[in-house]
């Protein structure tokens, strides 16, 4: 056999130095299911052997095998079906042996054992012990294949049965299921084991997920069990490190799927890592940290596809850096149990009694909040909790001693970072975001490591990206120079936005000339950029009509350019309507859409007289002014109740809430329209602004169509505006092709509807810049200010929305920044800050600065505040 030849070919050293350090490597299912991945494992083992280390490699079962074994176990009553499924599984392994260039017969012993197990007299009962023994075959097979393959590559590898080294211990409250399916071990560093192994070889392969209980029966380590096995071996061998090789680069400051600019966490201490793993990160099972923490063995998370990347190191002491929030995470499906009673806490032992009830029902409490008359605890979504009867029985027992209420489904949002309380004063924006939702519990432990908010699950949509962005803005996460934070996910994945060439970079000289002519501050609009954006939107094949939301920038030349590009105009006031009519007298009324909000009646009268499309966003005007709408086609603007809009308090109090008719009131709106004699021909929803997530567009389009389908007179779906424009460097632009594909997909499901959009910002934001001159500079303590003649009267977005606009020194575009400065305007308001902490080359009086992405809601929102006058606007179609 191949194995023997290679065995002889290796340069095995007869005696291994007993002080040789061990490294434990762990590889999951996807890493052991392909030949090239095994070659990679061999390479990594060789590297460590060459560095003078001994290696124990822990492997999972091949991808899908554990599930297949579970399925076999579920067939325990059907011997024939079990046998057939077992044969299929054996065949899968034999064929993989073939792929590895091995003789499939090497699996005969394992195959025999599997056949025995399905034919076992214990099988029909399907008991836990039998199940565990059956499931163990996955890892036993994969490690057997691995051992032979590694030897075939010339590595001298010994196969170890993990069960000979890992023994589970009895838990205080342990069901049969837990004993066999979720066992725990407590390995202590053992010099004897080290020496015994080193006497045999320097490289070993063994199984993850499996161990033995006291009487020698096979047990499983539960979910994430292979990570735990690696950690156990690390502890047992006093390894110099455990490396978990997986398919992601490490732990991140947030789930990269939700937050593409989440940052890789280079180094964490055990406590932080444990907290992050427990509160959301899926990369490492939290159980895997305990054993290495006890023995102070470093644990590294490494990416199989990117072996050169540093990954995450979990070590006894983290890097010394300013306090920072390492991660924000979210757990859904949290159940709160609120226990209310007057004055009960004075009773000695009351809480002990209460917690005894939880214990009796096998439920472990996670978070706790208390007041004089209330104690509220959280329960994680365990299998046990989903069992019919458990929560019911718990509440029944609790009701004997207090009033009990279940609050669910909830989501727990956790910030993790050592020294949380020292950062409280910088969490203002974040707390405001959280506070806009229904918060049921806040918890902060005395070890100062976390801060958790339990909110309604329905309010949790989108909260992680929002909080992560707030943390970045507050420089609590990923601040410049903080060594904990590595590259962002999108940078690692190569999805980072390519540095876009901005039109004003190429037109630097012309802009400087312009600045020499025009009195600053003034706006410059690039007609070519407007045309280019219009072209992109015209290329969306799923869209039937496009209306430009002129409130973004009603400059007459922009209206003309967009009308020429085929766009209709969307107006929100009689003033805008008159402006469009004056600027574009030829534009037929059917290309104008009037979408007012709380406008006086006369404006509706004017719009209806003009014969333009009309959107109604209020039930009461249909009821109160029916004569206005008689015989008219109208669109209804709906609030789909997504995200914050779902929340009553926000709906009545938030700034977005005054728009739209609640989707639940659609029936009433239709009835009122019917009574008024109006016909509802379209449904409209505006999703917000700056949305870069395609899935969001698709979902909302789908929801609106699902609603519209029940209204036969509806022919149009208007998904509003809100197409995102990348703002900060590194943000990915919205892919128009992907957006079109998503919209087309929805349209195919609901072919009946025309699709309209009403973009504003997308068309003009990048086209406009503000040119402004430096007035004076100032130093105050550590802070340096650069004063410019533009201010919040010129561009109010930074003050109003905390919008970030890039600011550059126009004459020195290529020069690197030297100093961090506050770019401020001349208005007597402390909020008149255009840019905070900007890295700029030296600025002197009269230097020209350019403020980018100012084409939308810039001049349109300019004011005469402080009587500084309105900015001039220059439209250039040659730029």
């Amino acid at each position: 056999m191949v194995q023997c030849v290679n065995h002889l070919a290796t340069d095995r050293s007869p005696v291994v130095d007993p002080s040789t350090p061990f490294v434990v490597l762990k590889f999951g299912g996807t890493s052991v299911s392909r030949r090239h991945r095994w070659e990679n494992i061999a390479h990594l083992m060789r590297e460590r052997l060459a560095a003078g280390q001994a290696v124990v490699t822990v492997v999972s079962a091949l991808s899908g095998v554990t599930d297949a074994l579970k399925a076999i176990a579920a067939l325990h009553r059907d011997a024939a079906a079990m046998a057939a499924a077992a044969e299929a599984l054996i065949e899968r392994h034999r064929s993989f042996a073939g792929e590895l260039g091995l003789d499939p017969e090497i699996l005969e012993a394992r195959a025999g054992r599997l056949r025995q197990l399905v034919a076992d007299p214990r099988a029909p009962e399907g008991g836990h012990a039998w199940q565990a023994r059956l499931m163990a075959e996955g890892e036993l097979c994969s490690s057997t294949l691995g051992a032979h393959f590694l030897r075939s590559l010339g590595l001298d590898v010994e196969w170890l049965d993990a069960r000979d080294y890992l023994t589970s211990r009895e838990q205080p409250i342990q069901t049969e299921w837990m004993r066999y399916h979720s066992a725990q071990c407590e390995p202590r560093p053992s010099a004897a084991v080290r020496e015994a192994l080193l006497a045999r070889a320097r490289a070993f392969i063994t199984q993850g997920f499996i161990a033995r209980e006291g009487r020698g029966r096979t047990v499983l380590l539960g979910r994430g069990g292979s990570d735990t096995s690696a950690s156990y071996f690390g502890a047992l061998l006093g390894a110099c490190r455990v490396e978990i090789w997986t398919d992601v680069p490490g732990m991140f400051s947030a789930n990269p799927k939700l937050v593409p600019d989440a940052r890789l966490l280079r180094r964490l201490d055990y406590d932080e890592a444990q907290e992050i793993a427990t509160t959301g990160a899926k990369v490492l099972h939290p159980r895997a940290i305990g054993p290495v923490r006890e023995t102070r063995v470093p644990l590294w998370i490494k990416d199989t596809e990117r072996p050169a990347l540093a990954g995450t190191e979990i070590v006894p002491e983290a890097l010394q850096a300013a306090p920072s929030v390492k991660a924000v995470s979210l757990r859904n499906r949290i159940t709160l149990v609120s226990m209310e009673s007057i004055g009960m806490w004075q009773q000695v032992g009351f809480l002990a009694d209460v917690f005894a009830i939880f214990k009796r029902h096998g439920l472990s409490v996670d978070l706790i909040g208390s007041a004089e008359t209330n104690v509220t605890v959280s329960l994680d979504p365990s299998d046990n909790l989903l069992d019919a009867g458990v929560l019911e029985a718990l509440c029944g027992d609790l009701a004997q001693v207090c009033r009990v209420k279940v609050i669910a489904p909830c989501a727990a949002v956790t910030l993790v970072g050592r020294g949380m309380r020292a950062m409280m004063h910088r969490l203002g924006e974040l707390l405001a975001e959280v506070g806009a939702r229904r918060v049921h519990l806040v918890s902060q432990s005395s070890n100062n490591l976390n801060l958790t908010f339990v909110i309604d699950e329905a309010d949790a949509d989108g909260i992680v990206p929002m909080l992560h962005a707030a943390l970045v803005r507050a420089r609590l996460t990923g601040a410049d120079g903080d060594p904990v934070f590595g590259p962002s996910w999108q940078a690692i994945a190569g999805e980072e936005a390519p540095r876009l060439q901005r039109w004003w970079e190429e037109r630097q000289r012309e802009l400087l000339k312009l600045a020499a002519r025009e009195p600053t501050p003034f706006y410059v609009y690039s007609g070519q950029t407007v045309a280019a954006r219009a072209e992109r939107l015209n290329a969306l094949s799923a869209v039937d009509r496009r209306f430009y939301a002129i409130k973004a920038n009603p400059h007459p030349e922009i209206l003309r350019a967009l009308a020429a590009a085929g766009f209709g105009m969307e107006c929100v006031s009689a003033g805008e309507l008159a402006h469009v009519q004056a600027t574009l007298p030829e534009l037929p009324p059917e290309r104008i859409l009037f979408t007012p909000n709380f406008a006086p009646r006369a404006e509706y009268v004017a719009a209806l007289a003009a014969g333009v499309h009309l959107t109604v966003d209020n039930l009461s005007i249909l009821a109160d002014w029916p004569e206005l709408f008689a015989g008219r086609p109208i669109l209804l603007r709906l609030d789909l109740g997504r995200g914050l809009g779902h929340h009553d308090k926000v709906r009545t109090g938030g700034e977005k809430s005054k728009f739209g008719i609640a989707a639940g009131d659609l029936g009433e709106a239709l009835a009122l329209a019917h009574t008024a004699g109006a016909r509802v021909v379209g449904l409209h929803a505006h999703l917000g602004s700056g949305i870069l997530d395609i899935a969001h567009w698709k979902a909302v389009h789908g929801e609106l169509a699902a609603l519209a389908e029940r209204v036969p007179s509806v022919a149009v779906i208007d998904i509003g505006g809100g197409l995102g424009v990348p703002n900060e460097p590194g943000e990915l632009p919205l892919s128009m092709a992907a957006l079109d594909a998503a919209l087309t997909e929805v349209k195919a499901l609901y072919p009946r509807f025309e699709l309209w959009i009403e973009p504003g910002r997308y068309l003009v934001a990048e086209a406009g810049v503000v040119l402004t001159r430096v007035t004076q500079v100032k130093r105050k303590g550590q802070t340096r200010f650069v004063g410019v003649d533009a201010g919040m009267h010129t561009l109010i977005r930074p003050a109003l929305y905390e919008a970030w606009h890039e600011i550059v020194h126009l004459a020195a575009l290529a020069e690197p920044g030297q100093e961090r400065v506050q770019v401020v305007g001349p208005i007597c308001e402390s909020g008149d800050v255009l840019g905070e902490d900007r890295l700029l080359p030296p600025c002197n009086e009269d230097d020209v600065l350019l403020i980018a992405n100012a084409g939308a809601y810039g001049a349109a929102m300019a004011s005469r505040y402080n009587l500084r006058g309105l900015p001039v606007e220059v439209y250039r179609d040659d730029l």
């Binding site: 989903l386 019911e392 979902a699 029940r710």
Partner: protein, 442 residues
């Protein structure tokens, strides 16, 4: 812009119905206007009708032509109905009059119309009796992405019956449920005549139509084309109960899901189309609660299905992409499943707790038929909702939720005690389920 006058017509014409190469074309017209063509496509169906089934298929096609016409007829409600070619046979004409009158009951009520005496189908001679066609023993099971049909699927699987799941129209959500059943799938395409949308835009009458009747007729054609000997729907007992009375006629939102229609169609099929093609509803003797109880155990569908009356067709991971949480269907399914599921499992399905939202009180009162009529939706009977509430009011994990408290404090004292939930779970009432499957329910 103003809207034009409601369009009108004197005559509704059935112009033609043809099958060719997997596609049925159904033609209709108003007066001498352009033909409105509906297309139904049967993927992978034979080029022409299988031998020996020609006569039967011609009758099935006439049935489909007749029933599917209701979507167009109701747009203008012309006083006269004309069949351009051979008239419908007498039995079919009588069946169609029933389908149009009762199937448009809710439509008439909502539009304040009286259709009695208005709908007359010209009747041809009686059709010859149908013969047995030797159809293969396998069933077509229509699924809609909701809980009911998935309960049927599991019952049939349990009984070892050969069957395929089928649906009409494109829907990612239904497809995902179909895939999860692991059964063979048949996705039938249906395209309404685009002119109908134009008529709707111009202000044609619109409202609820008996879509189950249309789908049933489509499946009769499918059964003959592909060879199935049964069409198994999943309508429950409560579908036969009316919502209210309008102009002396009981109005039932789900009339074409009720037993009267089932019997009428099954008898017509048996007598005039194919004597060995069965049409029945497997859940007919079950209450909505009994179906909910069975569905509670089918956890593999819990994260996929939707019974919401917003017709969600996209696949969304979040519960809010499948459940609006604001319609009677969402409320009823939530309430009906609650007694049979662990509370966290139920809340995971919906992503929220509808029974702890004060603004839902009115909607749940309507389900319990307390102070309001049963909503025009496919929801269970009032006593089923009351029985579910009574059970929840006893449960310590539910009774503090606002709607449950409202039931206990404001509704329960004002109504007769509802029947115990257990009494509503036993099969009852008439049905057409074959003997060999009856044991599944008993």
């Amino acid at each position: 812009m103003t809207i034009s006058e409601r369009p009108s017509a004197q005559r509704f014409r059935f112009t033609r119905a043809v099958y060719e190469a997997g596609v049925v074309e159904l033609g209709y017209a108003f007066d001498e206007g352009p033909e409105l063509i509906e297309r139904i496509s049967f993927p992978g169906a034979p080029e022409s009708v299988p031998e020996g089934r020609g006569v039967a298929f011609a009758r099935a096609l006439a049935l489909l032509h007749g029933i599917a016409g209701v979507s167009y007829y109701k747009a203008l409600l012309p006083p006269e109905i004309i069949v351009d070619g051979e008239p419908f046979d007498a039995a079919l004409a009588a069946l169609l009059e029933q389908v149009y009158l009762h199937g448009l009951g809710e439509f008439a009520h909502e539009n304040h119309l009286d259709l009695r005496g208005r709908i007359h189908f010209p009747a041809g001679p009686a059709a010859h009796a149908a013969s047995e066609l030797g159809l293969p023993r396998r069933a077509l099971v229509p699924i809609g992405g909701g809980k009911d049909s998935l309960v049927s699927v599991e019952l049939l699987r349990q009984a070892g019956e050969p069957f395929a799941v089928t649906w009409v129209g494109r829907s990612e959500l239904i497809r995902a449920c179909a895939v999860a059943t692991g059964q063979p799938m048949l996705a039938i395409g249906r395209e309404l005549a685009p002119e109908l949308f134009e008529l709707n835009r111009q202000g044609a009458w619109n409202g609820h139509i008996p879509v189950t009747a249309i789908n049933s007729a489509i499946l009769v054609c499918a059964a003959l084309l592909y060879g199935y000997d049964a069409i198994v729907f999943s309508n429950e007992a409560s579908a036969s109960v009316g919502n209210l009375e309008h102009g002396g006629i009981e109005v039932n939102h789900q009339w074409s899901k009720g037993l009267v229609f089932e019997n009428a169609l099954a008898e017509y099929i048996d007598a005039h189309i194919a004597a060995d093609l069965r049409y029945y509803s497997l859940l007919r003797p079950l209450s909505e609660l009994a179906v909910a109880q069975r569905f509670a155990g089918l956890t593999r569908y819990h994260a996929l299905f939707s019974s919401c009356n917003r017709n969600f067709r996209l696949l969304g991971e979040r519960p809010s992409a499948r459940w609006c949480g604001q319609c009677p269907k969402c409320r009823f399914v939530f309430l009906a499943l609650a007694p049979f599921l662990a509370k966290p499992a139920l809340l995971a399905i919906f992503g929220r707790n509808l029974l702890d939202e004060p603004e839902q009180i009115e909607g749940f009162e309507a389900l319990a038929e307390f102070g309001a009529a049963k909503p025009f939706e496919c929801v269970g009977e009032g006593r089923e909702s009351r029985a579910a509430f009574a059970r929840l009011a006893e449960r310590a994990d539910w009774r503090e939720d606002v709607v449950v408290r409202h039931y206990a404090e404001a509704i329960a004292p004002a109504i007769a005690p509802p029947p115990d939930i257990a009494t509503l779970l036993a099969p009852h009432g008439s049905h057409r389920i074959p003997e060999r499957l009856w044991a599944l329910l008993a």
